[in-house]
Symmetry: C2
Subunit: 430 residues, 2 copies
């Protein structure tokens, strides 16, 4: 328990990861608690992108596909991501958006089950999964002849029966920050004969993940949240090698069969023949400039590895959310806040979410005071509450940030500052 | 007919578009004739991207979705592209790769036909279409219960019968540079009851296109060729408003139903409801940094509009390819070159391709001498020859470049310099 501002400062001074904050450009006067939506800018990114644009593109022109190894970039970045999520080199493909990669993974999983267990008719997911996951699942389910069934998180295990073809879950819930036990649910799903597709959008770079250890089936993840790849950064997709090996043997494909997922793209033959392994999940030409930015974000994790890596980052993440939750509950009592993030560390991702009916206006008042989190609207029909989300990125968030953010939240609530009409006007993006 | 080097220089001096070359960074000692594969770097791009990264991302952080209008960027860029291809404001969606957008457009076209004309079973295309188009078509055809039929370009009209659901063509062939008559084939397709999906990868920014005038159905295009958006730049998709209006009325969707294609993405509701118009073709979070680079490429076309726009660019493009073809045929006679690009301007895109069995090595020797084109391998089974491609981008290519490139090609061929073994070693990307 941190009892004072001085104690928070002392924890920062003693933090073995404190040097990592210097890897980031962070504006003065801002406490940034929205790295779960858009990660902060690594210091090295601007120069790397400038070199890519002026040198590799401008002077190297088309030659840079070979001379600057652009053609190998997606694979190199995939291998870096693999070290964060428990995948082996060569198992991750980088490119496209999370939604597009989820379409590939879900289609592949559904296709395998259609062949192995055609009687299974359910694609199971969580009711409060991130909407894009549910929207893509609707589409894949319709194409594969499956029925999308949405249940509450606590009821998932009960619904994993002989009718489930695929279980699709986001590892850490984007609203509540509640984390599933990836290994346990994968085991239960496999025992029921289902395949798993995991969305690691709020996990990769935030919490330890061991895809191979859990024998998971498919996974996707996001490049612009905890991986700090920049707005709209390329996403990634992983498939367990037992599935890609089988797809190799049986010539199976996923539907987005673009030319760079061909076994020999530069032969320019008219008939598609999928590349082996994860290569068949590649589609079009990779976005080089955006991938160079993502690479910079991943290099910061390489620096973190010398300081304890994901284990140390996870310990600090939990300490930060513990501090913030305790301090908020201590000084904002009676102000109508309700913690929706689990207190149990085993169930908590790297964020703390508080429900409040006027969360939108309160968050706007906080942002004006330099505390940047975000707001996610609730829905009466699903019982979801209006939420304020505070994301904690152990690479650059300090204990003093958690302490001060709680104090500023208490000030906003105590003063009623958020009641000003201007804080209630909705922006285009919330 | 240009008769001398001096005359080529005089044509450049008199060229009303000559100032546009100053909009680009072009390395000294290079004649760049591969803008049909990767367009050159606009001068304004590096600074714009630096501002996006350092200011908007680094300092603005998540707020920039609103304050820097990131959320409106895809639409703004789409409207710029619309002016080049004959689409109205609000009709083009920018983002994802060409392959992914083709998947959306082909799926939508097939879906409409499945509803209107379920007895039609053919997806018709050209045998020598760009492979990614054929690979994606294979996939969509399999999902939609269609058969992909590939014929020679000259036989397309004969195959447009009552069995064709969708005609999918690339407007300008990536190998030969042969251009289809988009309006005429669209008319024939419609008369036969088929819908058209046009790939404008080698057209947008290179030749005039009038999608609305031709009453075409769907189109996609590439951001990194003649639009100069950078390696792997976002692509675009267009649908005629009569189709999007119908999709609105009937609640139809394309399969990549990601969250930003939702009617109200920031309501975060669990059930997908497509955005109206072209909005339903949006999928995941847009790649902001890459889109800013693409925007710079399009601003150069805005500058070109004051100098005659696509009409003037087209006239110069044809003059450049005329000059190059005439000069090559005059000074490389007997060296085994065979022009595969149509001499008829009405059938010619913005490139000149010459077949030569040893095209790969000859191109490597040219590149070493600063003349950068590219090579596309032929295939005995389809009768395709090995090709050298020379792309002419009227925004920055000069008459003297066409003249000198022909001279250097004649030198390489006449001296047999390309016979050196090192020019025969294949690189990863050709």
């Amino acid at each position: 328990m941190t009892a004072s501002r001085e104690e928070a400062l002392a924890r920062d001074a003693a933090d073995p990861l404190r040097s990592l904050r210097d890897e980031f450009e962070l504006p003065e006067g801002v406490i940034y608690l929205d790295g779960n939506s858009l990660g902060a800018l690594p210091r090295r990114t601007a120069a790397r992108v400038a070199t890519t644009i002026e040198g590799e593109w401008g002077r190297g022109l088309i030659r840079s596909w070979n001379t600057a190894c652009w053609i190998d970039l997606a694979q190199a970045i995939g291998d870096c991501i693999g070290t964060l999520v428990g995948a082996a080199p060569g198992e991750i493909s980088v490119g496209d958006s999370t939604s597009v990669n989820l379409f590939k993974a879900l289609s592949a999983a559904s296709g395998l089950q259609k062949s192995d267990a055609p009687s299974r008719t359910t694609l199971l997911s969580e009711r409060s999964n991130f909407p894009t996951d549910l929207y893509i699942a609707e589409s894949v389910a319709a194409a594969a002849g499956l029925k999308l069934r949405l249940v509450d998180a606590g009821d998932l295990a009960d619904h994993l029966n002989h009718d489930v073809a695929v279980l699709m879950l986001t590892h850490v819930n984007y609203r509540s920050g509640r984390m599933h036990d990836l290994a346990d649910l994968t085991r239960i799903a496999h025992a029921a004969g289902a395949l798993t597709v995991w969305d690691l959008a709020h996990s990769a770079g935030a919490v330890p993940v061991d895809l191979l250890g859990a024998e998971a089936d498919f996974a996707v993840g996001c490049g612009y949240k905890y991986l700090n790849g920049g707005p709209g950064a390329p996403a990634f997709v992983w498939a367990h090698p037992r599935h890609t090996a089988r797809m190799d043997r049986e010539g199976l494909r996923q539907p987005l069969s673009g030319w760079l997922g061909h076994a020999a793209p530069f032969d320019f033959v008219p008939v598609y023949r999928p590349a082996s392994g994860i290569g068949r999940f590649v589609c079009g030409t990779p976005p080089i400039v955006a991938m160079k930015a993502l690479q910079c974000g991943l290099e910061v994790f390489a620096a973190a590895n010398a300081l304890g890596g994901m284990t140390a980052l996870r310990a600090k993440s939990l300490a930060l959310t513990d501090l913030f939750i305790a301090r908020v509950e201590s000084i904002c009592a009676g102000q109508g806040l309700e913690l929706t993030t689990p207190r149990d560390p085993a169930l908590r991702g790297s964020q703390a979410s508080f429900a409040h009916a006027d969360g939108y206006a309160i968050m706007q008042a906080l942002i004006e005071r330099g505390v940047i989190g975000d707001f996610r609207a609730g829905h009466a029909e699903t019982g979801e509450q209006n939420l304020m989300r505070f994301g904690f990125t152990p690479l650059y968030t300090r204990y003093i940030d958690a302490w001060d953010a709680a104090d500023i939240l208490a000030e906003v609530l105590g003063s009623g500052a958020w009641r000003e009409p201007r804080f209630h006007r909705r922006a285009a993006v919330t």
